[in-house]
Symmetry: C2
Amino acid sequence: MFKKILNSFKYNQIFERKMSSVNAQTLETLSDIAHRLRIHSIEATSASNSGHPSSCSSIAEIMSVLFFNQMKYDVQEPRHRANDRLILSKGHAAPVLYAAWAEAGAFPVSELKNLRKLDNPLEGHPTPKLNFVDVATGSLGQGLSCAAGMAYAGKYFDKADYRVYCICGDGESAEGSIWEAFAFASHYKLDNLVNIIDVNRLGQSEATMYQHDMDVYQKKVEAFGWHAIVVDGHNIEQVIKALDTASQVKGKPCCIIAKTYKGKFFPEIEDHQSWHGKPLGKQTQEVVEAIRKMIKSPTTKLGHELLPIKAPTAVVQPTNLANIKLATPPSYKLGDQVATRLAYGTGLTKLGQANPHVVALDGDVKNSTYSIKFKEAFPDRFVECFIAEQNLAGVSIGVACRDRTVAFASTFAAFWSRAFDQIRMGAISQTNANFSGSHVGCSIGEDGASQMALEDLAMFRSVAGSTVFYPSDAVSTERAIELAANTKGICYIRTSRPNTSVIYENNEVFEIGKAKVVLKSDSDYATIVSGGVTLHEAIKAANLLKQQGKSIRIIDLFTVKPVDWQTILENVKQTGNRIVTVEDHYAEGGIGETVAAALLTNAPGQSFNFRKLYVKSIPISGQPQELLERFEIDSNAIIKAVQSF
Amino acid sequence: MFKKILNSFKYNQIFERKMSSVNAQTLETLSDIAHRLRIHSIEATSASNSGHPSSCSSIAEIMSVLFFNQMKYDVQEPRHRANDRLILSKGHAAPVLYAAWAEAGAFPVSELKNLRKLDNPLEGHPTPKLNFVDVATGSLGQGLSCAAGMAYAGKYFDKADYRVYCICGDGESAEGSIWEAFAFASHYKLDNLVNIIDVNRLGQSEATMYQHDMDVYQKKVEAFGWHAIVVDGHNIEQVIKALDTASQVKGKPCCIIAKTYKGKFFPEIEDHQSWHGKPLGKQTQEVVEAIRKMIKSPTTKLGHELLPIKAPTAVVQPTNLANIKLATPPSYKLGDQVATRLAYGTGLTKLGQANPHVVALDGDVKNSTYSIKFKEAFPDRFVECFIAEQNLAGVSIGVACRDRTVAFASTFAAFWSRAFDQIRMGAISQTNANFSGSHVGCSIGEDGASQMALEDLAMFRSVAGSTVFYPSDAVSTERAIELAANTKGICYIRTSRPNTSVIYENNEVFEIGKAKVVLKSDSDYATIVSGGVTLHEAIKAANLLKQQGKSIRIIDLFTVKPVDWQTILENVKQTGNRIVTVEDHYAEGGIGETVAAALLTNAPGQSFNFRKLYVKSIPISGQPQELLERFEIDSNAIIKAVQSF
């Protein structure tokens, strides 16, 4: 351990003369502030009778140095585009983050005692309800991807020299998503990014895998292409020197691996296993007193009154992300055979033409999702994230932060299931990142079940505040993209692999929550509600039924969430209350359930004849049309359902 | 690169004398077989006009060596418990896996040309419909976790010396889940595990991050605590030596990092970017001819006729996993205050007492999910997977393979969203692994939204063939565990954080798909359908409504999937067709939608008055009861809903 520190110090000497000169007085003040952060964390969690004071204490010195010696930021405008950024990935240490902002003057210190109280934004884990939080944390292992996205935006889109800091726990370093982010950040040489690993040795229920073996962390971090510096995380001088060094390292991101102790300076609690996530209760006063005694210069002044906060110096252009329109309208002929995934690539490129802040992200399937078209047009605004969907989602959320970009991330829809937690947290983060998933359902054909998204509607619908587009042709796909670009919250665009007919005129107007009646007569026997490939099966069914003298009405949902139950209800009433939903998706959380619940809730006392067609078991390999037939979501199945009424 | 190979060879010399002697003739035969595997892969994908022949070719030599020189297995009984195991994590190379089994004599070579055809089990990606496949692959980065689970079972549960092999692609090594598995396997010293990384340089849409920089792979693998051996993956002798070495390394798993070429030996295709996932079409004949010429000793004999396959030697005891019962029945008093998460720990421990093959797995929250009770009782059957939920899921699936164990994995329900893809693939893998998620919904209180599972019912319901338990008290929780242990497919048990009353007698009998009417009178005005914490709110509401002279019926779903619509429908009809669902979950994919869709589908022409109560927006921090009230899923909200009819 000591050898490692010496090693890094040797390296530091190269930069010695460039370092900020920190005198003994400053070191003492930073140490005093660290202790105050400890006390605030203890008192806040004791007041709320819940929380993680011991996890706060291990990073008290790191926070003190970041806020009062290193970071450049405007306290009055924490989301100013020129500010340095900080993500507390170990979100359970929220109280020490709040304490630091209070000491920085963002809000009164007295407010800290309202931690975790109903309607107080100082929640158990950080969320962007607080203007100094960019992304919500609390599900571990996600912060570094978001930080890497912000650093990527800084270096390559904003071309500005604000810096991005991230603090991870050692326990959370077991999350693979962290290593996806490590690989990404070094691949793109994000030398504006610093990750600090708080190696406090203890997890929630037992010691971490590596405890205080700093060597393992260093080897891992270096193997992943980062510059690693091991420090004693409670030694303010070492932390400062490491961060100074980090600011000088070029061509690679820097990771500070801080050896710390959980509950540092808490008598009889420090480094003890049983103190994860526990307020100090009866021991509060005693521990606070012990720490208070360590403060060299007691004062009523706040941190920012003792040490000036550095103002931001980065020059960052403002962005205008409002009202982005396709550069040119869709240009197809009715009946053209175009896969919606291809239209996604076309539409996204048009969006990129219209606004320089539209960016696209990929997980090494760009030639399948057709986001490659965007890359070809705008290589500088395309981020290849390789086969690492969790990081792909996190980076997307990161680049979209502080309205730096309008981000569209795409991969096979099935593989977004890999990033469900990131997307769930994205909703809490109030992200506007957009996600597109291609290759949905059994209509992809021969590749088999592993590649078929049959749960993606369930997943994206369950994301709080999301909008779920399921366009059925090329025209509506392009419009879905346009709408997504201008819609708050997470948008999901579901695209299909097979070619399907263009069914809308190029000037058709689409709205979120407005379904389209694509086939209608005065004597329709039943209403079919669908989207995507199965909508075209419904049209086929209608043509066949017509030959038998039976007409049906067809509704294209366009958005599955929100679902346009008014249009559905109105039409269903006109067709003898007979309704069939059909979808290339499992039943659970899909179109049928959505529509059923909407009808039942919104039409009390009304009765229906309802049939759901969906994929009833795990599909197999086969040709697309064979599979639609086998899994009974093709035109024949629709005809049978209609005839069964 | 060459230096690396020399290094590893130097290391190999230590074991030189222990190595299998491989003569020149054998090397030549293995090479010939490799070429035949190539040809089979090309011809099969050309016949199906889809697939990934170039990805097969890069591992042809590796497969030849594994099947005809290294692995010990019974071709006639590929899932024999004593066999060595192989997981092809890069599942898109399925044709070469099928070809190897055909050459081993498992089925006729002629069958290979039915690849990807409807109803042929030789699907686009491997699934356990084939008796030589243990887990489905195709969503990348998952195989190593499953392999690690199998190796863990071999070393610690079976205490047998079968070996487990895994083949990953280089592209998929970007997936964080792989690094979770690397960390896990070295932490548990799985020296019966070999991972082979096929570094063929090319991803789907561009070159991989590290291309042929073998050094980076070696550093990463070593940093994660494995023994790394870099080889030329097309050099049979090197591959053999590396695998021989691997079999001798003790105390750590071994990773063979194979430098290979995509489309190796395909003229004008080898190492070219544009050939991912493409059958060779018109070039088929020409390429096959070129490869055929490389075969030194053409023959009609199969691989296993040329080189004897090694028989398994491991001594593995059979398991009996049938009809596992709680060692002792639940023992609570009506009205006891017990959290269902606590009952989970209690019940699981009783199950462990009843059967020695019940095992539990955790993601460092065992003191919150109470799986710690199982660990205290059976430390040797408890697998701590630390904070790495993807690997936790994969290892669970791995240890449950070939009926070696009955696995119960638990973490916070919110964090299972991290492993959605693994669980989705688990369903395709026909796993019987069981998952439990605690801390669901806003009733967890102060920790805030990041820790609250509000999408878990949507997620687990959407998993093909799953059973979703949502027990409402301690008795039913214990019975849910017992039922899960004996139920095929993925079972999910949703538990809650707060204490709730025991409402069932200890001898109450529970069945999957059978709801319980917990409150009933002849004059009930409406039916409330719920589960978990909100069921108790319904009971509270009933007591309050009774004071107003109104009685309501209450149904406890017990399983949300399958949902007992018959019981619900019958009772709803008896209560004026008035129904309220209430759940600590978002609307989408939850109880309300489930019930609505079931009623609408199964009661044509019947009308209802239906109210859904659910969490309508992202919750905040606060006390559990405050939050139930704020998000309108408490007794007051239920009363209001009933009064609104």
